[in-house]
């Protein structure tokens, strides 16, 4: 790692945070709770999803502690089942789905397209309130005694065989679903209608493209989940007989409906993360993204194909062999755009001028771990090997590589990247680089052994397991401890930086996006006057030219 850096901060002895900005404009709790400002709503979201990430993460810690020994020594099997169910529900619906879009996306998309706000600011605030209501319902379900269906709510287990809080949890996810539909709708309208003069579709930053693709998935997919959960609730209360064969229903139908949303949901979670990586890799190698169009269209391709692969979750469930064949083929096709993206990012580095600030380290972590996560997805997409590997720890490791190794790395990368814009202050560089490395090491220690466990046949969702699997589980738990430290550090030093961080100035990274051409933290209206986009995205020559002009005019 070289000492070279692109960070250019204003003179710290004279620099001040601009007096007028979106944080200082109004004060008091009400000014936050009734705000229409996308940046304030993004801040509210950031605080709330961090809270739920903390709960979900603590539950993950409990899971790993229980699995330290082959017997159920820390908690009873029932408690364990409730813990992993809540871990899944919270992490998927209250953290991963809203993570990048509702926080970073909310914060930067209007600025990236050169708009004052999202198209529907009140709807944006409504989606945060819906999120909070969903969160409260989940916390209630947990406090009232929990739920042990697993986050997949498999019927007829969820509809007839459990007497835990299935209904309140199901309705919580129903509400959270509307929160995500509204966010998606808002993004789509904003990206279509609110672009500033000169901002054509192919001048949009790739972060906008990937969030656009994810928004389409949210709007089209989430209603199906909502319907499914309502049917589960009706089946439990009124025994309408849609899913339970004892009442003439079809349990496979539940699987189809659930995965019709929940597979695209995976892309809802990962696509915005990919957008972050495009921005970060370009900025820290000072080079336009290699093959802009290919990366943009690969996001759209993932969104389109993502809708037609859901039954690959059901290869062993008695769907016809030919259906399995078709869904397997489509799954292979959806893997290709992800491979394209990885290579395009790698070649963005080629002949760049690379520096290694924290966001870039997280982005490198993303590229490595997402490659593993994606490749092991192919193991599961191929029908033959899926029979052996599905429903084991292999699949647990696979989706944690994609969701935690991929998405969470991207989220942290993005948070560090836009932190100076958001708060006007820099995070401490050295300790955050250290945290990025700790996270990477801890992650691999935690989840890599799970691939081997899965190949050996250890089933997922087991509170107790045969003793020969213990050694690898001990490795995994040890890794989780390191990983936990890696996640605690940013919470600490980012809070510290709110007061003590160096003043960032408007463009510390020398990045090209429109959001970097305004003050940090931005004005409530984002820009003093409507910007005009007169260059391509990632045009570093334009940026350089711009700086020379400024120097000339000042001189």
């Amino acid at each position: 790692m070289s000492a070279a850096t692109i960070v250019s901060l204003p003179d710290q002895s004279t620099a001040r945070i601009p007096k007028m900005n979106f944080l200082s404009k109004e004060n008091g709790l009400l000014s936050w709770l009734l705000t229409g400002d996308h940046k304030r709503i993004a801040t509210l979201y950031l605080i709330s999803i961090t809270f739920f990430f903390f709960i979900g993460g603590s539950l993950a810690g409990l899971i790993r502690l229980e699995l330290l020994t082959p017997q159920t020594s820390l908690m009873a099997a029932d408690t364990y089942n409730k813990v992993f169910t809540m871990h899944g529900v919270i992490m998927v619906f209250l953290f991963l789905v809203p993570s990048v879009p509702a926080t970073i996306g909310n914060f930067v998309i209007p600025m990236m397209v050169g708009a004052k706000d999202l198209a529907l600011p009140k709807v944006n605030l409504l989606s945060w309130y819906l999120y909070v209501v969903a969160g409260i319902m989940v916390v209630y379900s947990m406090a009232a005694g929990g739920v042990d269906t697993g986050w997949t709510f498999t019927s007829p287990l969820s509809t007839h065989y459990l007497n835990t809080h299935v209904i309140s949890t199901g309705l919580a996810i129903f509400v959270a679903g509307f929160s995500s539909i509204f966010t998606g709708l808002n993004f789509i309208v904003t990206i279509h209608k609110m672009r500033c003069p000169g901002m054509t579709w192919f001048r949009l930053p790739l972060f906008v493209w990937s969030n656009y693709a994810a928004s389409i998935l949210m709007v089209l997919g989430t209603p199906v989940l909502a319907i499914t959960l309502v049917l589960v609730v009706l089946e439990r209360t009124l025994h309408i007989g849609v899913f339970d064969p004892a009442y003439g229903g079809d349990p496979i139908l539940f699987q189809h409906l659930f995965w019709f949303y929940s597979h695209p949901a995976v892309y809802i979670m990962i696509l915005p993360g990919m957008g972050v990586i495009s921005e970060v890799v370009s900025t820290f190698s000072r080079k336009r993204v290699f093959g802009y169009t290919a990366v943009a269209f690969s996001s759209v391709a993932i969104a389109v194909f993502g809708f037609f692969v859901w039954a690959h979750h059901m290869f062993i469930m008695g769907i016809s062999n030919y259906a399995a064949l078709v869904f397997s083929l489509l799954t292979m096709l959806v893997a290709v755009p992800s491979a394209i993206k990885i290579f395009n990012w790698a070649f963005t580095l080629y002949k760049g001028s690379i520096t290694f600030e924290t966001p870039m380290l997280y982005a490198f972590g993303f590229m490595g771990l997402f490659t593993i996560g994606g490749m092991t997805g192919v193991f599961l997409g191929s029908t033959g090997t899926d029979i052996h590997l599905t429903e084991t720890y292999f699949i647990v490791a696979h989706f944690h590589f994609v969701m935690v190794g991929g998405m969470l790395m991207a989220f942290l990368s993005g948070i560090h990247f836009w932190w100076p814009k958001w708060t006007g202050r820099m995070y401490p560089e050295k300790i955050s680089q250290f945290a990025a490395v700790v996270t990477f090491i801890g992650f691999n220690f935690t989840f890599f052994p799970q691939f081997i466990l899965g190949t050996l046949g250890m089933p997922r969702r087991y509170a107790a397991y045969p003793p020969e699997f213990q050694a690898l589980n001990v490795f995994s738990t040890a890794g989780a401890t390191i990983l936990g430290i890696g996640y605690l550090l940013p919470i600490l030093y980012l809070t510290w930086s709110l007061k003590y961080g160096a003043i960032a100035g408007s463009n510390p990274w020398q990045a090209t996006g429109l959001e970097w051409q305004t003050q940090s933290p931005p004005l409530t209206e984002n820009f003093p006057e409507t910007p005009i986009m007169d260059h391509e995205a990632y045009d570093y020559d334009w940026l350089e030219h711009q700086e020379q002009k400024e120097v000339a005019s000042v001189g």
């Binding site: 498999t154 287990l157 290699f290 290579f343 033959g384 997922r460 045969p466």
Partner: protein
Amino acid sequence: MDHISPVLWQFLQKWLTHFALFPPEASKIAPEMDALYFFMVLVSLVGLTLVVLLIVGFSILYSKTRHPKAVQIEGSTILEATWTIIPLGLFLIMFVWGALLYFRIYTPPANAMNIYVVGKQWMWKVEHPGGQHEINALHVPTGRPIQLTLISQDVFHSFSIPAFRVKREAIPGRYTTVWFEATTPGTYHLFCTQYCGTNHSQMIGDVVVMTPDDFKKWLEGSTSGNSLAQDGERLFASLSCNACHNTRPDSRGPSLANVYDSRLTLSTGEIITADDAYLRQAILNPSQHITQGYAPIMPTYQGQVSEEGVIALVEYIKNLDSDYRVQQTLNTTDLVPENPGAKPATAGPTPAAQKEVKP
């Protein structure tokens, strides 16, 4: 090694003695699946190495200290086509290879010996055709294709034998099948891999693979006296199925001899094959499955017959190859005697052995 703490030392020892990267290969399909698995591992390693080399290599070559001014490059159609087509080709190879295995594992050969498995919270009940019942265990011989017909009595379960590389969901309300041919005698893990409630992790058992001779001995030692078909016959009589399915000219139900695997025309005009699943449905939900020419008068047996009972009935109907047997059942006023005819002890697993039972 006294400078390492004893706990750590014990742990390392334990790990090294149990160290394995994949489970034992105890079925015919296992080495074939492992071949594909290792091919995929190889491709992944090559791909990962390539990505890591590109990132590390470019990071060293083009770091800001070495390369202070970036050269702007639009993209490259040839390069992008390369990394679209090569992964696509590799993925398609994995797709075809995987599909070949999948079709083999889920298409049982015609000569396979059929064993029924019923899953319920939280145990596996195994029914051998010879009448041997097992709980949380499955005994099978080597060198012989075994077909499992699975069903669940309550929620989704999944029958997984890692050493055989096979797994199949046990679904409430419908039969699923999977087959394997064990190759190496030994005891292997049997897991329920679909989360099924509180004691999901206790729904485990042993698969015992035996040489054909040992298996024969085991069969003889574990018989319950009646074959599965005989259990079915008794149930058939006690439910008075023969009141209608009695082969008389004026009978109200169709004759069941040789009905298994035959083509039936339903009252809707639809033509179906009378397989296990059809027979099960016709017993539990008869109004939806009326054979052409008969009135929809059969009552449903939903809730009156357990899944094991239905299995016994299906097995009985499967083995009915003449009307004679039904008439015999008809003539004995209520129940057939405990050991009708021959030697139940040798009531072997084959259909041939079943036939021996018949007088």
